[in-house]
Symmetry: C2
Subunit: 347 residues, 2 copies
């Protein structure tokens, strides 16, 4: 006999490993709403993301790993705001009730939830094509959140972690070039599997960059595309088109020879493909931040103290657009953009 929606929730989601007590959570799952409290002087940061089968992950994705990715990509948005996780909601659509799948998915969620102290607050379990929507809720002191808007001419552009690993991992998982027909050794396979399913999200990095970064976001669509958001910051807010015209006119130069690339990336991705994957490949979920020159040393030393790779990859300039600059100082306009769900955007 198939489990009812209530039984699924009771057994696999409303359990102490997932829906645990957490400061600020007044009421967890089981009522019409969950209830959150905020300490005085703090704001609640929220972000929602959907991962769909066949679009964001393959049908046979390991549910334990998939769950980790689902929650981590959302936590990445909190990190990019300088916020600290409190809890998350889960809207899960399942085509059938596969208890083994659900159990492993729940375990993957619990692993990340516990390590980030992000408790399950509530959710909805429905029948439908496999789809996972998670909303995260975090807290950040008022006026200290990291925004996309705020970069100024002369600011240095930094990224955390390495670039392109997740995009390379996707090529591998889809048996595409440069991995087509290649059998990876266990270490390589684990590296790329983790690069895709378990992005290294550092909440501490975001918190440490409060009051230091002039602008910040997480790299989800590829550095080229996401840096573009920083340059056009605020464009999506209503009424901001005029307000942000000024920041929309700034540009950037990227020192392509300084892009942080992993050993595994360099081992498998041929030089001719490296730039495309590192700049236009998405899913890395490191941070991209801009820092005023006067605060640069402090930001670098804080990241160093956290053991986080933090690399200066360029600078904000007055001239609009993004330019690539090589070790010889030769510049060329950037011609590829990040991943887009629908259609292709001109660069």
């Amino acid at each position: 006999v198939a489990l009812t929606e209530f039984e699924i929730i009771r057994r696999y989601f409303a359990r102490a490993q997932l829906a645990f007590a957490r400061d600020g959570v007044v009421l967890g799952p089981g009522d019409d709403c969950a209830l959150l409290a905020l300490p005085p002087g703090e704001e609640l940061a929220i972000s929602i993301d959907t991962l769909n089968v066949g679009v964001h992950f393959p049908k046979d994705a390991d549910p334990f790993l998939l769950a980790q990715r689902c929650l981590l990509v959302n936590l990445s948005d909190l990190a990019a705001m300088g916020a600290e996780p409190v809890g998350f909601t889960l809207a899960l659509s399942l085509p059938t009730v596969d208890e083994n799948w659900i159990s492993q998915f729940s375990n993957g969620l619990a692993k990340v939830a516990q390590s980030y102290q992000c408790s399950l607050l509530g959710g909805d379990t429905t029948k439908g094509a496999l789809s996972i929507t998670i909303q995260v809720h975090g807290r950040v002191p008022a006026r200290q959140s990291l925004r996309r808007k705020g970069a100024r001419v002369g600011d240095r552009i930094y990224v955390s972690g390495t670039l392109g690993d997740a995009a390379a991992a996707l090529c591998w998982m889809q048996n595409r070039s440069p991995f087509r027909g290649k059998a990876l050794d266990d270490d390589s396979a684990e590296f790329f599997r983790n690069a895709f399913y378990r992005p290294q999200v550092s909440i501490e990095a975001g918190i440490s960059l409060r009051r230091l970064a002039s602008a910040a976001l997480d790299i989800s669509d590829g550095l080229a595309s996401d840096l573009g958001h920083i340059l056009e910051a605020g464009d999506l807010s209503p009424g901001s088109q005029t307000q942000n015209k000024a920041s929309g006119r700034i540009g950037a130069v990227l020192d392509v020879h300084k892009l942080p690339l992993s050993v595994m990336f360099l081992r498998y991705v041929p030089p001719a493909r490296q730039l495309a994957l590192a700049l236009a490949g998405g899913d890395d979920y490191g941070l991209c931040v801009t820092v005023a020159p006067a605060l640069e040393a402090q930001a670098v030393s804080r990241m160093q103290a956290l053991g986080i790779e933090f690399t200066c990859v360029g600078q904000i300039e007055k001239a609009p657009g993004i330019r690539m600059r090589d070790a010889q100082g030769v510049t060329a306009p950037l011609t590829f953009r990040g991943y887009q769900h629908f259609g292709v955007k001109d660069g």
Copy 2:
């Protein structure tokens, strides 16, 4: 050329009719997170719900109406907590980019968003089977929220609005008995269409019942099933199984001859089907609340002042289970339950 994800968001979602300024919204769409502030002494109430094509609505559902239903069923959860809407997030999966569909959907959202002062805070637009997940965010003074837990023996059971109209509407839209082959006149068609797509959610009702209702929820799965949640309240919270054994042991009697049924319902649904649709049919989204006898008159007069139909349909009793009682005082155990997504739960 297909629109990009960014263009869809810019044109149809990050517009002033949807993402409008609202007290408590520090930062709206366009950044990694939205930011909310809470006045001191208030709590944030959140609820997430998914509607999937082919499960919760037909593929050819009118997008203008569908959008209204999506937001209203979520607002209903805020009403049931006694919370006031602030804003909502939207995770929208679309199989293709149909601008006409998206535009109408956006208009439907805007209609409800404006009438309930619930601003779009952010979202995610992805490719996938048509699926709409909305999370609502509301505020409620600390310790004044209406919970499912709290009903006591002797409390009266009240419902707002009428019962069964949405379930009847579903029969009509699916051309099932008692509507099979029947052509409805325009008034009837509009009544049933609205019953399903535009449930009458009253935020004021929830607010007015603060400090008066001992327990509350919205009727989404059918009165029988949802009243069961009040009787077993808190069962889904971790560690609550022992804690709530006491409330899990209470029961209720429903005066089936007092169930509020609409004129249209009585006109189309034959007597033999009425009880099943009114008690086990879902989607009505009225409130079901329990009120201590001492507060009953006050609750009734407040609902009357709001012009809300508010009907006593029974009473909480010591004996577990739900019993039906007819006008002659004859009781029988309730034998049908509300809608369940997976499998069938025994009564």
